[in-house]
Amino acid sequence: MKPILDVKGLTRIHGTECPSCLDMTGPEHNTNVCPACGSVVAAANVSFSLQPGEILGIMGESGSGKSTVVKTLYFDQAPSRGSAIFRDDDQSHELFNLNGAEQRWLRNHRFGMVYQNPNLGLNFGISAGGNIAERLLMNDLNHYGDIRRRASELLTRTDVMVSRMDESPKQFSGGMQQRVQIAKALATRPPLLYLDEVTTGLDLSVQARILDLILEIQHELGTAMIVVTHDLGVIRLLASRTLVMKYGRVIESGLTDQILEDPQQAYTQQLVASTL
């Protein structure tokens, strides 16, 4: 089976880049700010592949570049260098060579994103159902009755009370907001879903229910996912393979069990030891 996503050499540098940016930053220099030009190397030479239906975890401390990777793949940011091939049915798309309209099409039709902060993923000015409707409308579903039906199905699936469908997500609890975000992301049945710190800031029982939901969705729909988190519990539960990032570099990658049971890098060992 061919991977659904092939990322090679993904690099994102903020600032006026100089030739020594990549040589003078990274874990071995203990910084991601280039001492020569002051640019911030958010991610450098990140490469990985993702199989259809697989959940890949990216973990690391804050500022390690894990969100940057997902945001460039979701076209929220443009990468400085690198390539990413997305295979969809028989077609393969070179993500960073597409024009704006093609990127928007993929984003709306084939990708889903759940942000840590529901403010980014939801429009609080409109109702929860409206948020889902927006995504369905972007997919050229133009039938009011069908939109209502589909939105209430999705909210039922994600355990949001349908009776509250027409309320603003502002009035929802954090866990419910996250579930509305997941419903919105799933509206178009995307083959690829990005989850950026979805459970951070939620209490443990709500976290558990959201993680259950994510696993159920993966079993039901076979959605491939990239899960970004600093929470080892989330990684252990969801991801079959994991990348560990520090200062914009992937320092370790492999099967999740292997990484958590037998970490090779000193940083990973510290990370695993500090939580277990």
Partner: protein, 299 residues
């Protein structure tokens, strides 16, 4: 307006039609571009006019750059030839365009400048309608950044506008936009058709006359060329509705003045607290009245 004031067009300071020839040429070129890309908001250098922006300077610049001595001009405001805006703009055109005749008759006019209405009498191919536009961009209610709005227009991305309609249906069981109804032109660009009532929106579809929209303050010109599709934005299962003039017992209200039952009516509050309905298009109303009176005279 000072009735004794005359623009010095006898001297060389002002040419025919107040605008200088460079300005006219630019606006004509922009009009051509707007016609070539139906519904696209073409930017132009809106000139200072001797009246505040927002008083119809966009429509007026269109009119003044197109008008010639053999044209007949009609200016209306909310359907009426006699309201302040219409009278002042007509006077200005009379002052600055010698030999141009003005009229109140829709059929006699070759050029019609209008605020907030499309005339009731269907226009012909040899007529041009210039609409004064306060807010040209329908996306402004969902996206504050103009740069992003331009991209959305370019990609035909109107999902968020439809989301607004969805929210209206959820809250009120009805789309609550009374005027400036977003309308898709020629299958791509969605325009703000200026504050015409919903009643006039179907009139834009496959119109025989050229429809031009000028926004002076926002510096945009756009067009609905003759015989072009203009479809109001709706859901597949929620048909577009115009204003209803039916009473609770199913009677179509008639104009209290001319008795017409097929025109757009204004609701008037009378001094005694009661209400009256009258055609908003005064030329149409006068015409109907004359016809009824002539009919009565022959009987």
């Amino acid at each position: 307006m000072n009735p004794d004031y005359r623009l010095p067009h006898s001297q060389d300071s002002y040419g025919f039609g107040f605008l200088d020839e460079f300005a006219k040429r630019e606006i004509r070129r922009v009009i051509l571009k707007a016609i070539s890309i139906p519904g696209y908001q073409t930017p132009y250098a809106s000139r200072e006019m001797p009246m505040g922006r927002g008083f119809g300077t966009g429509g007026l610049q269109l009119t003044l750059s197109m008008i010639g001595p053999d044209d007949t001009l009609k200016v209306i405001d909310q359907g009426s030839d006699d309201s302040v805006n219409a009278v002042n703009l007509r006077k200005f055109a009379e002052l600055t365009c010698p030999e141009v005749s003005t009229t109140e008759s829709t059929t006699e006019a070759s050029l019609i400048q209008t605020r907030h209405r499309v005339p009731e009498i269907p226009l012909r191919e040899d007529q041009v309608l210039n609409l004064q536009v306060p807010y040209p961009d329908p996306l402004v209610i969902v996206e504050p950044s103009e740069a992003k709005r331009k991209i959305m227009h370019g990609e035909g991305d109107y999902a968020r506008l439809l989301t607004k309609l969805y929210e209206d249906l959820v809250k009120f069981d009805e789309i609550t936009i009374s005027h400036r109804y977003p309308t898709r032109i020629n299958g791509h660009y969605v325009i703000d058709p200026s504050p015409i009532p919903r009643y006039d929106v179907p009139g834009l579809h496959q119109s025989r006359a050229l429809l031009l929209f000028g926004a002076g303050r926002e510096k945009k010109i756009y067009a609905v060329p003759p015989y072009t599709n203009a479809e109001p934005l709706v859901f597949d299962d929620v048909p577009f509705r115009t204003e209803s003039f039916y009473t609770a017992d199913g009677q179509r209200r008639a104009c209290d003045r001319c008795g017409s039952i097929d025109s757009f009516l204004d609701e008037l509050n009378l001094d005694d607290g009661s209400k009256a309905w009258q055609c908003s298009d005064t030329d149409y109303c006068n015409r109907q009245l004359a016809r009824t009176e002539a009919g009565e005279a022959t009987q």
